[in-house]
Symmetry: C2
Subunit: 196 residues, 2 copies
DNA sequence: CCACTGAAGCTAACGTGATTAGCTAAAGGC
DNA sequence: GCCTTTAGCTAATCACGTTAGCTTCAGTGG
């Protein structure tokens, strides 16, 4: 084997860094090649297509996010775990908006797509965190989806510059976490069913 | 003036319909032209670029969503208004995923961009709805952002096929609305501040 | 009623960015 | 010190957005 300057992994890593700088939509093979000091067609010796590259970034992102969230929750429980996990996720998205966008743009390509276990690890962390609140077993799935919705929604709105007013976005996020925490501790939906 | 078969408005409307079918990312001038029974370059007599077309779709979507949400909230208050507004928004996104994606992909192009008043109308509806809960004035902004986050997050996750498990997504959504409603009625964050 | 104008739509052409084909040369095994 | 393997290169192709310039018809003014 010759030079081996680039590898699929190093190309993916560079692409992930690039995408965090210029935005996922502005990823191009030409720009990436330039960053790597190589001509565009050379990249195809390491990745089969731009779509595959984007998918690799997505897997990387999901894996990294999974690590970061797991580590944040590690050793905490209940409200502490929620706050730490949520903050960890928000921080990750703020630092890696391009990767996060890549992860959201991707769909599993098949049953053995590594993206699947990577996302399952994230879900498992959230599930572990939620187990610190005593929810009805039947409600866990709904709590999980609600949690994912708020965190994902906040992160994407923030990344898109959706929060205009000058009120502190940090403050809004801690308020949001608090809101969720109190709702989970209250054992929601035990009674009224407003939403019909 | 000659034939006038197409107009900027009719092209935009067709593009919006197309995008709901094939997905925002798969919008192409060629595909749209084909749908309209016209050759690609002819479209440029009505829109200046694909970017502008996407922006027009976004404005249309935001306007339609604003109407639908306002109408749903109309005549209701408190929990009823929340439930109706949230359901209306979710329904809109389910029926018009491409338009919604367009709206999320757009950034205001300037101070007189019609997208701005269109989104403000949506925010105004949510604000009107929230006024039915008696929140601290200082908390309204946080409640608004939390609300936007959950609804946007749920809608995008659902549109992306993010809810895999076979548990009813409808049920999760009503659970979510209930969760928010109860939190808002409880007058959150009055005490503990978990999230540091 | 008819020449005139203006814009809709067309064909041809261009530019950019992804991708492929085929060549070259250097690295590691023998 | 050869020989194979393959990273990277140049040249070419393809798809798609976009532009240039021509053609034709709808409506207007005489």
């Amino acid at each position: 084997m010759p030079k081996a300057r680039l590898t699929p992994a190093s190309v993916t890593e560079a692409a992930a860094a690039l995408v965090d700088e210029v935005g996922f939509d502005n990823l191009s093979m030409g720009l990436l090649a330039e960053r790597l000091g190589v001509k565009t067609p050379s990249l195809y010796k390491h990745v089969t297509s731009q779509a595959e590259l984007a998918h690799r970034i997505a897997v990387l992102a999901m894996t990294e996010a999974g690590d970061v969230i797991r580590d944040a929750i590690q050793g905490r429980s209940g409200s502490d775990a929620l706050a730490a996990g949520a903050q960890a996720m928000r921080t990750y998205v703020r630092e890696h908006p391009g990767r996060y966008a890549a992860a959201n743009a991707t769909r599993p390509t098949g049953p053995d797509d590594p993206f699947i276990p990577a996302s399952e690890r994230v879900l498992a962390s959230w599930a572990a965190m939620l187990s610190g609140y005593d929810l009805d077993p039947g409600q866990e799935i709904h709590a999980m989806r609600t949690l994912r919705s708020v965190l994902h929604g906040f992160a994407t709105l923030e990344a898109a510059g959706g929060f205009q007013i000058d009120a502190s976005v940090d403050e809004s996020f801690t308020w949001l976490i608090n809101f969720i925490d109190q709702g989970l501790r209250a054992g929601v939906a035990s009674g009224s069913d407003v939403a019909r």
